[in-house]
Symmetry: C2
């Protein structure tokens, strides 16, 4: 196991009707003037934004608001949010929505207290401080409610990049599984796929002797496999929603990923797909993951055999572990298809002829030097081969 | 799943040589005058206390010290520590040791800023505030490094009682598995048993539909089963020590126990044993757990069958799940014996004729009302039966 620091000071308020405590939590964590940041109309129409406002009113906390965050959140709205916060002297950014809204809120929170262009952080600049952030989560997916990460799409070239910093960890996150019950099956499945990817990316490690985090990751995968069909069958199954929601948070606050190298190649390859086609991140991952894993499998057959056996219940073929490994990847693919995810470029709406462009942006876009590193190093030649596996 | 709040703001610094960062962490979390609290001579003789002092010197942080914490830490030293902190204007308590030292440090930290008798907190009074606490852990066992709990033995009657409060959560905990490599096999095994008990107590729930935390608890149990024989065979196996250490922390910071009722009957029955005989808490649990589970099994056969099947690898007997359930308890007992733990009263040094006394203190000591509650309610009659199962 490798040395690590793990610090997750986010306070999670989990359960029914917890959104009505948003005001109490903002107060507890020192907010006096809030930006309520949200996405499209559903948070408004459902009455959620009103309930959040009421809870702020109850604590006599004033607020301003900025809606309109789109999936794959854009830099344009971030600039707008930064300006608004400065003008209104906002000291607390409250994201009400899914990962896109939270990531946009994080970018705003970091940008407000920074003199330069917030995009610097998405090109690798260290984040030292940010306004306090809170979240009311409406989709179990990105894990941004418990993570120090944010991913934004730069409209000037349409590429997605991530930033990271402990200052981006929310002070509190309100997780009410009821709020996810109105999600369409497709979005629910996209979220489950994203969570599964966060687990696989952590599972694919080059660090030896990490039994505890191996087992913890497997536990969360097994939970998804158990709960996903139940929630697709009955969107109102509160307990299935609840189990998935806590899985999503635990999958990405890194408590199960400490002390080990991680992969993140599937995310990198996917980001170019959702940047170019504006497809759902989860749907992109469903197509990306089996291809990446099929290519990467040879790098450590026993690791893929282990997840196949322990998680997917594939019999271990002791004479031919590569058979078990491959069967496990097929089991993942079948699981994703069974919950309604696309299986290839065509179903995703991606095009074979764009592969050279995808490869180019992946390996050389925005200052990259021709190779991305994870479980294996991926150069342009390998990237081309992996994208071709998705056809 | 039940509503919950989960808040674990402890910063964990894990890995080799991390104790040399103690000073940095005290500074980061605002300490200016430190009480170094420790146990017997081993922390001194090994040079650990000196390394911690050096790291404080480096940051120009002054300190005073108080050693002498015994296993099953006593109220007497807590009073002494409170007095010392007040006299020396200490604002940060740094525990260097295992669970006993940390629990004693927590009691001191709460007592310093309270006008009454600190024992009030161990009789149920709410803990509102405490001095900041940091830890340098030397035994993987109690999980106190990440928990809001403390257990102290009152010398006035020799009974153990627990207190709880978010203010008791350490600001930081330094976890260096190397520091545990010098532990004798018996103490190592006691620690593993304590961790296993923390997992079982959380596993035995009356809450339905808690797949995610069931799976996470199972993951940590599986890790112990894998790593325990390796570390007993080779005490210098760093990676086995590391896996056990993170398991111990995760087992008790409650990230795997949220949203569900928990048991804690085994701990309650054991506390009377270690209070009376001053035996190691882990050794007492090794005798207590199988007896408690054998009695409690009928309350939910399928839960015991589940842990038997998923964790201990017992074949599920679908016609007679009680057979599987019982086999799982036997597997636990055999595991504990295999790492050197006692199997019954005699091996523990407990006496049959003391059972009435144990039962009396358990159910009626220190203000209790004849019944303790957990997975099942235990009254004096049941307690007598369970203690008799340990003979």
């Amino acid at each position: 196991m490798e040395n690590f620091e793990f610090y997750s000071p986010t306070c999670f308020a989990f359960g029914k009707e917890t959104e009505n405590k948003a005001g109490e939590y903002v107060k507890r964590f020192g907010g006096t003037k809030v930006l309520i940041h949200f996405g499209g109309g559903s948070a408004v129409k459902s009455g959620l934004i009103d309930r959040v406002k009421s809870s702020l009113d109850k604590e006599k906390i004033s607020y301003t608001e900025l809606g309109g965050v789109m999936p794959n959140p854009r830099s344009g709205l971030v600039y707008k949010g930064i300006e608004l916060c400065k003008k209104e002297n906002v000291d607390f950014v409250l994201a009400v929505g899914g990962g896109s809204v939270i990531d946009s809120a994080k970018a705003i929170a970091a940008g407000v207290v920074y003199d330069g262009d917030f995009w610097d952080f998405y090109q690798g600049k260290q984040i030292e401080k940010a306004l306090s952030i809170g979240t009311v989560l409406t989709i179990a997916a990105a894990g941004s409610e418990g993570s120090p990460n944010s991913v934004i799409t730069n409209e000037n070239g349409m590429f997605k990049r991530g930033a990271r910093g402990d200052a981006l960890r929310p002070k509190f996150s309100i997780l009410n599984p009821e709020l996810t019950q109105t999600l369409p099956a497709y979005q629910t499945a996209c979220g489950i796929t994203d969570i599964m990817a966060h687990l696989y990316e952590r599972y694919l490690t080059n660090t030896k002797e990490v039994e505890v985090t191996d087992r913890l990751i497997e536990a969360l995968m097994l939970t998804l496999i158990h709960e996903a069909p139940r929630v697709i069958e009955n969107p109102n199954n509160y307990d299935a929603r609840a189990n998935i929601m806590w899985t999503g948070t635990m999958a990405h606050n890194n408590s199960v990923g400490v002390g080990r190298s991680q992969d993140w190649n599937s995310h990198a390859l996917e980001h170019e797909l959702s940047a170019l086609y504006d497809c759902a991140h989860g749907a992109g991952l469903a197509v990306t993951m089996p291809a990446v894993f099929t290519y990467q499998m040879e790098h450590d057959i026993m690791r893929f055999a282990q997840v196949a056996n322990r998680v997917w219940g594939c019999q271990m073929d002791f004479a031919h572990p590569e058979v078990t490994a491959k069967t496990g990847i097929e089991a993942l693919r079948n699981f994703l298809i069974s919950i309604g995810m696309p299986r290839n470029f065509q179903e995703l709406g991606a095009k074979k002829e764009d592969i050279p462009k995808l490869v180019d942006v992946l390996c050389n876009g925005d200052g990259r030097k021709g190779v991305i590193s994870g479980f294996i190093d991926i150069d342009k030649d390998i990237a081309q081969k992996i994208y071709s596996l998705m056809l």
